[in-house]
């Protein structure tokens, strides 16, 4: 009988569920799916040892509290004659603000200072953070960010 008194609450919960069943925020909470694709541009003249086996690029992804979410290193992916490109991809990220730093580690030239500047894919400077959902850096769903970074 006590449970019957909770019926208004039940109706409220049912109404909420109906609304939530077509709510993207709920799906985002269940299936975190944001993706950051990064193309790190490294000047070949300033980093002449990029072809060396011991040279690589490191990217650290941090959340809004600067806690490290992921730390990944990659060898070079392509060279366009002027810049060396290193590609990174971070998937299954929750909504929120992220910071990134990139560091070049050369086998002969040593560690180059980190750089946290973020640019869009056409090279427009964005700042040093990005926040999901973002409908300007990828597809219109707001869950993909294609960005560029420049190594120091």
């Amino acid at each position: 009988m006590k449970m019957r008194k909770l019926l208004p609450l039940v109706l409220l919960a049912v109404g909420s569920l109906f609304l939530l069943s077509s709510c993207d925020a709920m799906l985002d909470a269940i299936f975190p799916s944001n993706v950051i694709n990064i193309d790190v541009w490294v000047s070949a003249t300033g980093h002449a040892d990029f072809l060396a086996g011991g040279s690589y690029e490191n990217v650290t992804l941090m959340d809004s509290t600067f806690a490290v979410v992921a730390n990944v290193s990659e060898y070079y992916s392509s060279y366009d004659g002027i810049y060396v490109h290193y590609y990174f991809s971070f998937a299954k990220l929750n909504n929120g603000t992220y910071y990134l730093t990139t560091t070049y580690i050369g086998q002969f030239t040593g560690i180059h200072p980190t750089n946290g500047n973020i640019y869009d894919s056409s090279g427009y400077f964005l700042g040093n953070s990005l926040t999901f959902p973002d409908r300007t850096l990828g597809d219109t769903s707001g869950h993909t960010a294609n960005i560029r970074m420049l190594a120091s």
């Binding site: 939530l20 799906l27 769903s141």
Partner: protein
């Protein structure tokens, strides 16, 4: 459609005929194994969450279940071959809610519970759209009810159309339950009754 109306009318008549009619609302949450996609994605094996709302009057049972389906499942179930061109049309690679609206019977022989229901389903895709095609599903379930709460295990079979469901039921009547039960998605439900 007539074939579906007949059993629905029979259920309604049965519900009216049962003398000790009572109504009961229920709210639940359930989990299904994540590896139910066909083919399963080895990188996505997290359990599938579903939300349940139900109402019963006598043995008449109405329910709404929203299954939070992962992107790979939505993709597999929205990809199809265009019959005119023969090309495969890729589906939507986004998560979604599979909303199932069912009607059926629920029989309570305390503490045991049995139910069977069927109805249409609609797939909501993240981004604000509903998938154009309306599917059909059938569900069988059994469980236990202890006062205001209970647990039950259900199996849900999703069909592309009412014709597919009718064919499966027809086969079951003739003793071949394969189409109705093979590929059923098992779900463990926790339910609160009001």
């Amino acid at each position: 459609m007539k074939k579906l109306l007949l059993p629905l009318a029979a259920i309604l008549l049965l519900a009216v005929a049962v003398p000790a009619a009572f109504s009961e609302a229920e709210l639940g949450i359930g989990l299904s194994p994540g590896s139910i996609a066909n083919p399963p994605d080895p990188n996505n094996v997290d359990p599938i969450l579903n939300f349940h709302v139900g109402w019963s009057w006598s043995i008449l049972y109405l329910s709404w279940d929203a299954y939070a389906m992962p992107d790979y499942w939505v993709y597999n179930n929205t990809t199809y071959v265009d019959p005119s061109s023969g090309y495969t049309i890729p589906g939507y690679y986004v998560p979604g809610f599979l909303n199932m609206f069912d009607i059926g019977v629920k029989i309570l022989l305390k503490p045991f519970l049995l139910y069977a229901e069927a109805g249409p389903n609609m797939l909501y895709l993240r981004g604000g759209t509903n998938y154009g095609r309306v599917g059909v599903n059938a569900r069988l379930g059994a469980g236990l009810k202890f006062g205001f709460w209970g647990i039950n295990l259900s199996g849900t079979q999703v069909f592309a159309s009412t014709q597919d469901l009718e064919a499966a039921v027809h086969q079951a009547i003739h003793g071949n339950w394969t189409d109705l039960t093979q590929g059923m998605v098992p779900t463990l439900n926790f339910v609160i009754y009001f």
